[in-house]
């Protein structure tokens, strides 16, 4: 049985809302329910149509279609007001359905109660059942009603979605880099001489010192190379040779900002460790790196490992075909031309034999040669060999000093044929060649060859791609012939370069070169002590805000200082700006590299 209050409310509502139904006296309750359903359907259709129409009008979609409407410019307004009215009346019809449905049910109950003679208790149970089922239906209805706002929101979004515009995107990966790095031995940091130190050049100043993880033994030689491919544009490799005869490799993982350390990656022995008996170079296209080193043995004399960007390969050996001495000195050069993966190698052994190979990208090639190149090199214990590529042709130039004073020899590998051994005579030399440097002009096939001989003379020659031009001697008494106290480097734009050398206490001399044979007069800058090692490196890009050439110099006070060349002025940035404590000058214990701008 319905509660009294509910029944009264239902009867009041019945009077107001059911009036139209009352007029239809013949309509049965079943038909009345059918009418209600029709109203609900009409209400829903009207409400949704109204929403749609109102949105069409609100978002100017009526105009956007470009169609011509019967009502012309008024179509939008009629559409809007029609839509609003439809929403209102549709909503009313739905409301009618919700209310009347309840009322009709109440009326049935009243009618049933009046006609029945069954006990009231029984009726009450029936009513309770009906209320339960009605409750369940209401619950369902509530769910439906809850979904409706979502549907309405989606519906209203329709014009917005239709209004979206196609865009296109292009993504740029920017790799920020330091301009240059210097790696060196220094009795500083927590591992003192057993760890390599690093500073970075930001275009104007050198940073404070960073310490690289320990090599486990005092460092003698340092060599570094920068990855030439953009994908790993953050990567560089530093290799050190230590007192214990072991090589240690450090790969900078710029993504995770950590050094990937491989201690004791190779063993050069305890004789070859007195010399620069290893080198590191990248293949230009693949970005794989080769570390090539003496194994201190007389068979399988050379070992090498490949860094593929993730890990080092196991050691592979090269049993030198025509020489048997322990390899003392190795120099590598990367072929610079497009799509190349070639690396040229020249080596010097304990028997003063000189020979060369090229790495093809997968194996070592003798370039068709069937005999050793040189059996009487100038000296076994100093770096009297060099290799470099002509930068436009991609031909490799191998050069070395001979045991005859003034005699140097060269061979050219053009990719398919190895040229004959040819004499490069430098008449002004005062002794056999001791130290050589070969630097390729970055924009032509030119090269400058620098020689410090046993008489401490400093000479140069220029290769124009076809022939050598020997220059007048620069100095007849450099600071030492036991160290490389002179170096030459090109400016980034080529054709011009800088020669710097130590020749007197507390000064460093320099000249500017313009290819093919124009040298400026000698200038000097003040330094401290005698400069025993001088190293110059070319900036790989030409920007006004950065140095064209950076240099380092190690003097007899164990100070490692910095040089900067801006195209007109050589600046001593500090005699011991890197360190004042290398504790030795025996080895070339430092290396400057510029990051590859690829």
């Amino acid at each position: 049985m319905l509660p009294t209050e509910t029944r009264e409310t239902a009867l009041e509502t019945e009077e107001v809302v059911l009036k139209p139904f009352e007029q239809d006296q013949e309509a049965s309750p079943k038909r009345k329910r059918s009418y209600l359903k029709i109203r609900l359907l009409l209400g829903l259709v009207t409400l949704l149509t109204g929403l749609w129409a109102a949105n069409l009008a609100l978002f100017h979609w009526v105009e956007r279609t470009g169609l011509h409407y019967l009502l012309g410019a008024y179509a939008r307004y009629v559409c809007a007001y029609g839509g609003f009215a439809a929403m209102i009346f549709g909503g009313m019809l739905i409301n009618d359905y919700l209310v009347l449905r309840k009322v009709l049910k109440g009326k049935d109950i009243v009618v049933t109660m009046a006609d029945s003679e069954e006990p009231l208790q029984h009726e009450a149970e029936k009513v309770e059942d009906r209320e339960r089922s009605a409750g369940a239906r209401r619950k369902k209805l509530r769910k439906k009603i809850a979904v409706m706002p979502l549907a309405i929101i989606l519906f209203m979004l329709c014009p917005v979605i239709v209004n979206s515009i196609i865009s296109y995107t292009a993504t740029v990966l920017i790799t920020p880099k330091w301009s240059a790095f210097v790696y060196y031995r220094s009795n500083t940091g927590s591992n003192l001489l057993a760890s390599c130190k690093e500073r970075v050049w930001n275009g104007s100043v050198w940073s404070s010192e960073n310490e690289i993880p320990s090599s486990g033994s005092n460092i003698r030689y340092v060599r570094a190379a920068y990855c030439p491919i953009q994908l790993r544009g953050y990567e560089k490799i530093v290799v050190t040779l230590s007192d214990d005869g072991y090589l240690d490799a450090y790969v900078w993982d710029g993504l995770n900002k950590v050094w990937v350390v491989t201690n004791n990656i190779g063993f050069v022995g305890i004789t070859a460790d007195a010399y620069k008996s290893f080198d590191i170079a990248y293949e230009k296209t693949t970005g794989r790196a080769l570390i090539v080193y003496s194994r201190g043995t007389t068979t399988d004399e050379i070992g090498y490992k490949i860094w593929d960007g993730v890990s080092w390969s196991s050691e592979q050996t090269l049993n030198l075909e025509y020489t048997t001495g322990v390899v003392y000195c190795i120099a590598l050069a990367t072929k610079p031309t497009a799509n190349a993966n070639e690396i040229a190698m020249i080596y010097l052994d304990a028997n003063v034999d000189v020979h060369g190979y090229v790495w093809t990208g997968s194996s070592w090639s003798l370039m068709g040669e069937a005999a050793v190149w040189e059996t009487t090199a100038a000296i076994a214990t100093e770096e009297c060999i060099a290799v470099a590529y002509e930068q436009t042709s991609g031909r490799a130039m191998f050069v070395w000093g001979d045991s005859v004073s003034t005699d140097n020899y060269y061979r050219i590998w053009d990719g398919s044929t190895l040229g004959a051994t040819t004499l490069l005579d430098i008449p002004a030399q005062g002794g056999v060649t001791n130290w050589v440097t070969l630097r390729a002009d970055p924009v032509t096939n030119g090269m400058v060859y620098l020689v410090i001989d046993a008489g401490s003379d400093l000479n140069t020659a220029f290769w124009n791609g076809t022939a050598w031009t020997v220059h007048p001697e620069h100095d007849s008494a450099v600071n030492t012939n036991a160290r490389r106290c002179a170096d030459f480097e090109w400016e980034p734009t080529g054709s011009k370069g800088l020669l710097a050398w130590g020749t007197a206490p507390n000064t460093l001399s320099y000249k500017r070169f313009t290819a093919s044979s124009t040298w400026s007069g000698i200038s000097t800058i003040s330094t401290t002590g005698n400069e025993l090692w001088v190293q110059l490196r070319r900036n790989l890009r030409d920007v006004a805000s950065d140095a064209k050439i950076l240099g380092a110099m190690l003097n007899n006070n164990f100070d490692l200082g910095a040089l900067k060349w801006d195209g007109s002025t050589l600046t001593n940035m500090g005699d011991s700006i890197f360190t004042s404590d290398t504790t030795a000058t025996t080895f070339e214990c430092f290396n400057i590299i510029f990051s590859d701008p690829s």
Binding site: T46, C79, A86, I166, T169, L173, I174, T175, G254
Partner: protein
């Protein structure tokens, strides 16, 4: 008569009002129709969608191009080849009926703690070289702007291409990376939106 009574009972006054509203909507949407053949025309064609640039700590007012070439990576404009989409950023072809504006923007602003400036401009291929293109501050109108500020999210620029023309464009950025000693990789995404218009 009975039908009328039935309808009245069935719909009521509100039902009739609903029908009236629907009729009004229907009336509003009555259109004249004519068969039309629609030929969709793509005015815009994307070119290079990726690029790699190398920037250096303490670079000041250096430029990079999208697409770019040279060394450092991106520092030179590419050798244009109309059959190679990797040599231009995008192409716009307009006919006699519609001009086209292209909105250029970044999907996210460049980090202003790293770059002190990041100015985006556009160039077009004039037949023999890449020439400066005028940037506008809206898809219509004639107010020019010198560059799009990549440090400000939402700063956009438009190029306006008139009727009956085919042009190839590239994006150039003048930047200064002089605020941090930081070499973490950076990703920048350029977004182009073609906007056909009757006139500028």
């Amino acid at each position: 008569m009975k039908l009328s009574r039935d309808l009245r009972a069935m719909l009521g006054v509100k039902g009739f009002l609903c029908l009236a509203s629907l009729t009004a909507i229907a009336l509003a949407l009555v259109t004249y129709t004519a068969p039309v053949t629609i030929t969709p025309t793509a005015q815009f064609t994307i070119g290079a969608t990726t690029a790699s640039w190398t920037v250096y700590v303490n670079d000041i007012n250096e430029t990079r191009n999208l697409p770019g070439s040279g060394s450092p990576a991106g520092s030179q404009t590419p050798m244009f080849n109309d059959s190679d989409p990797s040599t231009y950023a995008f192409k716009v072809i307009t006919d006699a009926a519609q001009v086209c504006a292209v909105k250029i923007e970044l999907t996210a602003a460049v980090n202003s703690s790293k770059f002190s400036n990041f100015e985006i401009t556009a160039k077009y291929w004039n037949g023999s070289a890449w020439a400066d293109e005028t940037l506008y501050n809206a898809d219509t109108g004639s107010t020019a702007k010198s560059y799009i500020n990549g440090l400000t999210f939402g700063d956009v620029g438009y190029i306006h291409q008139g009727t009956t023309a085919t042009r190839y464009y590239l994006i150039m950025v003048t930047y200064s990376y002089d605020l941090v000693d930081e070499t973490t990789l950076i990703t920048v995404t350029f977004q182009y939106t073609p906007l056909p218009r009757d006139a500028f």
